[in-house]
């Protein structure tokens, strides 16, 4: 843990050497995500709701999903850009260190410019919670549960990222897979799962389990259906998925062949 804090603080210091660049990139990243949400707000303002979910309710889903993926982009930047280790043959150097390759990757770098997106997600959550004007107990439950939901989302996102990175052991390039495994599912998870056709729903609740992080618990928290089990599922699914992904990652490392040059 000590090592982790040292490595992370080093990474922060190095990025703070370029303050203006950091500020501008964070701001522009937040702007991008805000434009996305403003567009959604414009539609829902005009049409009132999407399959029974109003703007603030969708905002909750949207906020959880965007905070989760942006936190992953902050902490998992080396996992996300893992293909460069394969293409440039840098992975060998990670294997000979006394720390596991995964810990090295996680501590090597932080992409702080993505923090802007996290802040924007939190803002959307705040606006939505205020807009919902829930009863005291429901509000309390929601506030207590939100961090769990976000954390489950982060774990699911990280697992998907690692899963995709592992594919690089065989295919080298993974950018094209990421659209499949990360961008499209998280974009979809910004909206209630009940709008999707059956085959998409099946994917989002099995192989790419993004539906669990926000839709499942929020359904119960907003009294739209489900049972108390809806609250237990997200962390449980996240941990099982993480476990399976770590196994797959280990399997991938065993099958790693260096370039041999």
């Amino acid at each position: 843990m000590n090592l982790f804090i040292k490595l992370v603080s080093g990474s922060i210091r190095s990025q703070m050497q370029y303050k203006i660049n950091f500020l501008v990139s964070s701001l522009s990243y937040a702007l991008i995500m805000a434009v996305d949400f403003i567009l959604l707000a414009a539609i829902l303002h005009r049409f009132d709701n999407v399959k029974g979910w109003n703007l603030y309710e969708v905002g909750l889903l949207y906020g959880i999903s965007s905070v989760a993926i942006t936190l992953y982009r902050v902490f998992g930047v080396e996992i996300h850009n893992f293909e460069k280790y394969m293409i440039e043959g840098e992975f060998d150097s990670l294997l000979i260190r006394p720390v596991s390759p995964l810990s090295l990757l996680l501590t090597k770098n932080l992409d702080l410019s993505r923090i802007g997106g996290t802040v924007q997600g939190v803002l959307i959550l705040a606006i939505s919670i205020i807009g919902l004007s829930l009863k005291d107990f429901d509000m309390f439950l929601l506030l207590v549960y939100l961090p769990i939901s976000i954390f489950s989302g982060l774990i699911i996102c990280f697992s998907l990222g690692l899963l995709t990175a592992t594919i690089a052991f065989w295919t080298q390039r993974i950018k094209d897979f990421q659209v499949f495994t990360l961008y499209a599912p998280f974009n979809a998870a910004n909206y209630p799962m009940n709008i999707y056709p059956g085959w998409l729903k099946l994917i989002f609740f099995t192989v790419i389990p993004v539906g669990f992080m926000n839709y499942t618990p929020i359904l119960f928290l907003l009294n739209k259906g489900g049972t108390v089990w809806n609250l237990a599922l997200p962390p449980a699914v996240a941990l099982v998925f993480l476990f399976l992904t770590l196994r797959f990652w280990q399997f991938g490392i065993r099958h790693y062949h260096s370039t041999g040059s």
Binding site: N21, V35, I43, F47, K51, V179, L200
Partner: protein, 259 residues
């Protein structure tokens, strides 16, 4: 002609990656399905309040997902920034070729490739699943060709503008992000611009972003008169002249530094 050869070479280079691109096409189609599902959810039972029905929006999103590959997803800064960073730009600017055409013709080659190996396959996926609009009137096809052609030039110019700004700022990744967001957001990638709230819905019609995505799609769907081509033509001319002028300024700046 050298620019034609550059265009062809760029096309051939992209052919090397066609398998990876075909996988990516499936992902692009999934994005389309997600957007279509959202619109279906929003519009169901409320079609009377909307200028577009569920089927209209399905056709709209399907067409947008296809055109994005020729006028939306361009190379960030057309890679001009790399030349600025490693100094290669000084050589590129003094070559006896026109730098603007040298850069844009290579991107054009990539976009021609995208049209055949991205737009068309994605269109086929939509045609086989949710349906794809087929223009009913013969003149539409002519207007569509002109409109797409102008949309490509406008988008290349917008990306060139971001790229050439590297001569002054070095770092362009944030400028590219902003440019892309405006292009997608105000160009109607997910929300047709007439759905936007009041002042925005009027202004966006006259911005270059709508000319790059929204107008060609509306002409294709036969929902817009062909006169919007004049707005596209206006932006094509303005942006091209501006970029040629900026290129000249960049060249002068370079000579001052190098002297």
């Amino acid at each position: 002609m050298v620019y034609w050869i550059l265009l062809q070479k760029s096309f051939m280079r992209n052919l090397q990656y066609k398998v990876a691109h075909l996988i990516n096409n499936a992902a692009s189609a999934i994005f389309g399905f997600v957007f279509i599902a959202i619109w279906t959810g929003v519009l169901q039972g409320k079609e009377s309040e909307s200028p577009y029905g569920v089927l209209d929006m399905t056709y709209y999103i399907a067409a947008v997902q296809c055109i994005l590959w020729v006028s939306g997803f361009l190379t960030a800064g057309l890679n001009i920034q790399n030349g600025v960073r490693n100094g290669a730009i000084s050589l590129e600017l003094v070559r006896p070729t026109n730098f603007f055409l040298y850069v844009t013709s290579q991107e054009a080659g990539r976009l021609v490739y995208n049209f055949f190996f991205r737009s068309i396959p994605i269109g086929i996926v939509f045609a086989l699943t949710v349906g794809f609009y087929v223009p009913q009137h013969v003149p539409t096809y002519l207007f569509l060709c002109i409109s797409i052609f102008l949309a490509i030039i406008i988008s290349i110019n917008l990306h060139y503008l971001v790229g050439i700004s590297a001569c002054w700022t070095t770092e362009i990744s944030w400028a590219h992000f902003v440019n892309f967001t405006l292009l997608a957001g105000l160009g109607g990638q997910f929300v047709p611009i007439d759905f936007l709230p009041a002042p925005l819905s009027v202004i966006t019609h006259y911005l270059p972003f709508a000319s790059a995505i929204y107008y060609p799609v509306m002409i294709f769907l036969e929902k817009s008169s062909s006169s919007v081509i004049f707005i596209q033509l206006f932006w094509t001319i303005v942006l091209t002249i501006m970029n040629l002028w900026l290129t000249e300024r960049a060249r002068q700046k370079l000579e001052i530094q190098g002297g």
